[in-house]
């Protein structure tokens, strides 16, 4: 399974293949020992992987501290290049973006908190996060929604994957006031990007052994736009005869998700519907604090939480749940081929959740972020045999 995911990541990151391989080859041979799997003891790497870190706004910095603490305790050979970028705090200039891009070009992998998009129209229609996504061409957002063992919600044993096209659709930031009081907002759908995300979805389904891909749309109303999306998905589906392809209208999909979410496997959709369904599905398994997510482009991989909220009301109160970010960090380690360390972190987190003694407020407990990190660190030092 891990190998399959690794395969996916490598298959997608075309540019990654060249640069990364070179990096790996130039490292001492001891690193390759970590590829042997969980039986071999962890190899002490003589050099570390460099990853770009963007803490973001709200509780982002606290969550990043949690990740750093866990990595330090687990002796994980990853070094972070930190970039403090924020649109609401006016730290989102073009120079900062340039520096960030340079870092991304050499590291290729990033871990990121949410960069909050303010509502006030300061003249810029495009939020910084959108700009970042478009510049890096992070077209695919993958959120793996799985129920956590030991924490029951209204729907248990869920296992869905939500794949969202992230660069066009309703978030095109093309708006204008035709006459005072009448505003048009353009939603752009292109065949090229629709095909690309559909192919990504089917490739992902193939590599991870999934059986069905459902396209979510509103083509009965937006006949041309979503119709094009649907058509592109159907065209790509023909190349994958082993994977079942269906489609469902967004409002019916939302209704079905709260009544019977087990009928879905992999869902693929344009931008706005993805935002809605990501959050809905995250709510089904426990909220924004427990679902990890990642964004891919052909060259980069960015790891973050599944439901992206700055959660400003929790800042400084030490109550945020670091589960999502830690699980995402574990996914990042897998992407970097540090399989042993990845397992170590994710097992520790899942064990703490399953034991149920240390739970943050969103899961119904009273523990602080610090308590939770402490518990995870304890479980790292005494890994389950």
């Amino acid at each position: 399974m891990a190998a399959a995911l690794r395969g996916t990541a490598l298959a997608l990151a075309k540019g990654l293949g060249g640069a990364r391989l070179h990096q790996l080859v130039s490292r001492p041979l001891s690193v390759s020992a970590s590829l042997c799997g969980s039986e071999a003891p962890p190899a002490r790497a003589d050099s570390t992987f460099k990853v770009t870190m963007i803490p973001g706004d709200g509780v982002g910095p606290e969550l990043m501290t949690a990740v750093k603490d866990v990595f330090k305790a687990g002796d994980i050979p990853v070094e972070f290049d930190e970039f403090y970028i924020s649109e609401v705090q006016n730290r989102a200039s073009d120079e900062r973006l340039e520096k960030l891009l340079d870092s991304m070009k050499s590291n290729r992998v990033a871990i990121k908190g949410k960069i909050h998009s303010p509502m006030e129209n300061k003249g810029e229609l495009e939020s910084f996060e959108m700009k970042l996504r478009r510049t890096l061409d992070l077209f695919a957002n993958v959120v793996r929604v799985s129920s956590l063992p030991g924490y029951s919600t209204r729907h248990n044993n869920l296992d869905l994957v939500i794949i969202r096209e992230q660069t066009e659709g309703e978030y095109s930031s093309l708006e204008h006031e035709s006459v005072p009081g009448v505003i048009e907002c353009l939603k752009i759908i292109t065949r090229e990007k629709s095909r690309r995300i559909a192919k990504f979805a089917f490739d992902y389904a193939t590599k991870t052994g999934r059986s069905k891909v459902t396209a979510v749309h509103k083509a009965n109303i937006m006949k041309l736009g979503d119709g094009l999306f649907l058509q592109s998905c159907a065209e790509v589906a023909e190349l994958y005869p082993k994977i079942k392809h269906e489609n469902i209208i967004i409002d019916n999909c939302c209704m079905q998700l709260v009544q019977n979410p087990y009928q879905f496997d992999v869902l693929v959709m344009p931008n706005l519907y993805g935002n809605i369904i990501d959050n809905l599905a995250a709510g089904l398994v426990g909220g924004a604090g427990v679902v990890p997510g990642e964004s891919y482009s052909a060259e980069y991989a960015v790891f973050e939480t599944g439901a992206r909220h700055p959660f400003a009301q929790a800042v400084g109160r030490n109550i945020a749940n670091p589960t999502a970010m830690l699980l995402s960090a574990a996914n990042m380690l897998r992407h970097l081929n540090l399989e042993y360390h990845s397992q170590m972190v994710s097992e520790a987190v899942k064990k703490v959740i399953k034991q149920g003694k240390v739970r943050t407020r969103d899961l119904g407990g009273y523990s602080t972020t610090g308590d939770f990190v402490q518990a995870v660190v304890e479980n790292l030092r005494h890994p389950p045999t």
């Binding site: 229609l125 907002c185 759908i189 292109t190 019916n252 209704m255 809605i276 709510g283 909220g287």
Partner: protein, 346 residues
């Protein structure tokens, strides 16, 4: 007017549109129950198949329009849209004819029809004329399509005013505007600004704003935190169906459409269910609850409460339930049971 017990009550005319598929049978059920409750409603049945008027424009039949303009209140069953008929959907036609700008869906958990979500009690109010459903789309070059989302000041103000008035008239404590103004800064920004402006005139109702994704996240975890939600077209479509799913689906959800000239059409939002049409298996709950909504709109609260209690009690008892509610009674049996309870409550 008619003599009810000891007082003369003015009979009000309501245009009844039975619809297609199971429409006629559930409409008949509702008429029977209203009869049993002695509600002062006089039904005028009309058909709304689209006809081509002068000038080639599709419109609803003249007698239907005339009846509705006169009575101002309508109750509608499900309508089918034949695929290759050449005319737009009937629902769209009705919406355009009467300028039905607000779609109101109260979602209340039905005791006796268990879903994983209990204690849901919220109302979604959706702007129904513009937004993402403006229908303005074009292919710019081959492979690139542009859909236009239209937000206007007038429509936003109108829906916000309706939402606050609804909250005031129905003793609801707060109105939440749902939007994505952090991404669609101009369009949703305008919608939000209008909501804020209107909120100033309704200081007795609490006004909050929430992002659409936050609403979705919180709705599936704790729906009790929401009261009245007001939003543009697409978000409203999705959220109202989401909320319907929380209480049990479209078979038990009422819906009302409010128009500009005092016209209000209440309808069931499920489909025509052609596979069970005519077999006496349909569930009239959605249309019945829409009828209850209609009575409340008309000010006939007493009758509304009676019929609603009878309906909910029947479902709670679990003895006589239609198939979709988990029982195996017929539609007529279900209807008779509700009529019996209504008469007992009188």
């Amino acid at each position: 007017s008619s003599f009810h017990g000891s007082v003369w009550v003015q009979m009000q005319t309501v245009t009844l549109i039975p619809g297609d598929g199971i429409g006629p049978e559930i409409s008949a059920a509702v008429v029977k129950i209203f009869d049993a409750a002695k509600a002062p409603v006089q039904w005028e049945e009309r058909n709304v198949t689209a006809i081509k008027g002068p000038g080639g424009k599709w419109m609803i039949p003249a007698d239907a329009k005339e009846s509705m303009d006169r009575s101002k209140i309508g109750l509608k069953g499900p309508l089918k849209t034949p695929i290759a008929a050449g005319h737009p959907s009937m629902n769209l036609l009705l919406r355009k004819t009467f300028d039905l700008y607000a779609n109101v869906r109260p979602c209340v958990s039905i005791e006796g029809y268990r879903t994983p979500y209990t204690d849901v009690d919220l109302v979604t109010i959706r702007e129904n004329t513009e937004g993402e459903y403006s229908g303005i789309e074009h292919v710019i070059v081959d492979g690139v399509v542009q859909s236009i989302k239209l937000i206007t000041e007038d429509a936003s103000r109108r829906i916000a005013e309706y939402a606050f008035e609804y909250a005031r008239n129905n003793q609801r404590s707060s109105v939440t505007a749902v939007h994505k103004a952090n991404i669609m800064r101009m369009s949703d920004g305008l919608f939000l600004r209008k909501c804020r402006e209107v909120a100033e005139n309704f200081k007795d109702v609490k006004f909050t704003e929430m992002y659409l994704d936050t609403v979705c996240l919180n709705m599936v975890q704790d729906p009790t935190q929401f009261d009245v939600l007001v939003m543009p077209n697409l978000y409203g479509d999705i959220l109202s169906d989401l909320c319907a799913g929380l209480i049990g689906g479209l078979g038990v959800t009422p819906s009302g459409n409010i128009g500009a000239n005092g016209v209000a059409i209440f309808e069931s939002v499920h489909g025509t269910a052609p596979d069970i049409a005519g077999l006496d298996l349909a569930n009239p709950t959605a249309l019945l609850l829409s009828g209850v909504m209609m009575l409340r709109h008309m000010g006939l609260h007493q009758y509304a409460a009676k019929i609603q209690t009878a309906c909910f009690d029947t479902i709670k008892e679990k003895k006589v339930l239609t198939k979709d509610l988990g029982g195996n009674s017929k539609c007529s049996e279900f209807t008779t049971e509700i009529c019996r309870r209504v008469q007992d409550l009188a």
